[in-house]
């Protein structure tokens, strides 16, 4: 794509972001939401509440844990802790995205508002494509994609809710399996920094390891411990390579 100074208005880039709804990541996420919808229907959560949940929580793993807590009869505090522990990852994800999309003049309130639309799919999509968007339009591009993705999935869940309960098991299983497979393929193929490859491999091993060692805090420990190890290894290689040159 052309990266000269004045190409397109803010509205053009918002629309370009909106068109991201027809991209492979968006379609896979929608299929995953059909799977989530089947899960909530089986759990007996009313459709209005599922739609509300999609809009306000948005991150899919957090919603699965929320519904799981509700079904397990957890009280408000326990559910809050379970969901919040599962969502700590959103902080470094947003922190890594912000320097890529803001300009010196982007107001903080706008970033706070738009951060709501960050979940794994929107994050992977934005980190992958934002490089080809002129910097002053990246906010508009992300807003167009993020807002469209949330609203479309709210509508999707409202529509498919009453059809999903009697899906054949093979379809339900494949819908569930799409999510992890898609994350793996897209993170690897969109990585622009060598540290991403190292962190992805170490994180895959660290997840089960910490689940075995400390199941309460596994994701957090795997992220901070595995991520720090990946960063240190990659930095070490990088420094050695530049010392040799």
């Amino acid at each position: 794509m052309d990266i000269s100074e004045n190409e397109g208005t803010r509205k053009d880039w918002f629309l370009t972001g909106m068109r991201g709804i027809f991209s492979l990541p968006a379609i896979i996420l929608m299929l995953s939401f059909v799977g989530f919808c089947a899960f909530t229907a089986q759990a007996g959560v009313p459709v209005e509440q599922v739609v509300f949940m999609v809009g306000v929580v948005w991150a899919l793993p957090a919603k699965v844990i929320l519904v799981g807590s509700i079904m397990g009869g957890a009280n408000l505090l326990t559910a809050f802790i379970a969901v919040t522990l599962s969502s700590i990852r959103l902080m470094p994800m947003v922190a890594a995205l912000i320097p890529e999309i803001r300009t010196a003049r982007t107001p903080t309130w706008l970033l706070l508002f738009l951060s709501h639309f960050v979940a794994i799919t929107a994050w992977v999509f934005a980190m992958e494509r934002v490089q080809s968007v002129p910097r002053q339009h990246r906010i508009a591009f992300f807003a167009g994609f993020g807002i469209t993705l949330v609203l479309t999935n709210m509508a999707l869940v409202a529509i498919v809710y009453r059809f999903v309960a009697d899906f054949p098991p093979i379809i339900a299983g494949c819908l569930f399996f799409l999510t992890p497979v898609y994350f793996l393929a897209s993170i690897w193929s969109s990585a622009r920094h060598p540290v991403i490859y190292v962190a992805l491999i170490i994180g895959l091993a660290a997840g089960p390891l910490f689940y075995w060692l400390a199941p309460e805090f596994d994701i957090l420990l795997a992220g901070v411990g595995g991520g720090t190890l990946a960063w240190a290894l990659e930095r070490n290689w990088r420094l050695k390579r530049s010392a040799r040159l």
Partner: protein, 114 residues
Amino acid sequence: MSWDDGWWAYAFIAIAGWLATDLWRWLGVLAGNRLREDSEALNWVRAVATALVAAVVAKLILYPTGILEQSPLWLRLGAIAVGTAAFFGSRQRPAVGIGTSIAVVAAGLFWLGF
């Protein structure tokens, strides 16, 4: 206070779902606003964010919920292995890797009589 009690359900979702997730997003904005795009600190944040997502992925594969909970581990790991081979064999085209993995899972579930 049963789950279906109107406003209580929405308040529950708002507090245990909305607040519990957006809290971290807002902290991420405040932290990300201080990071320079070419800094070593941002490189570390990238590594941690990626490792966290990878850990979630590993758990989804090893400890799935729903129908896959009853599927054998070898089928899920085999699907990932075959999908990975297809991904690298096709010059890293995501659609090829994803399609192959899903096809293996579908065939395996069918063969096992699901």
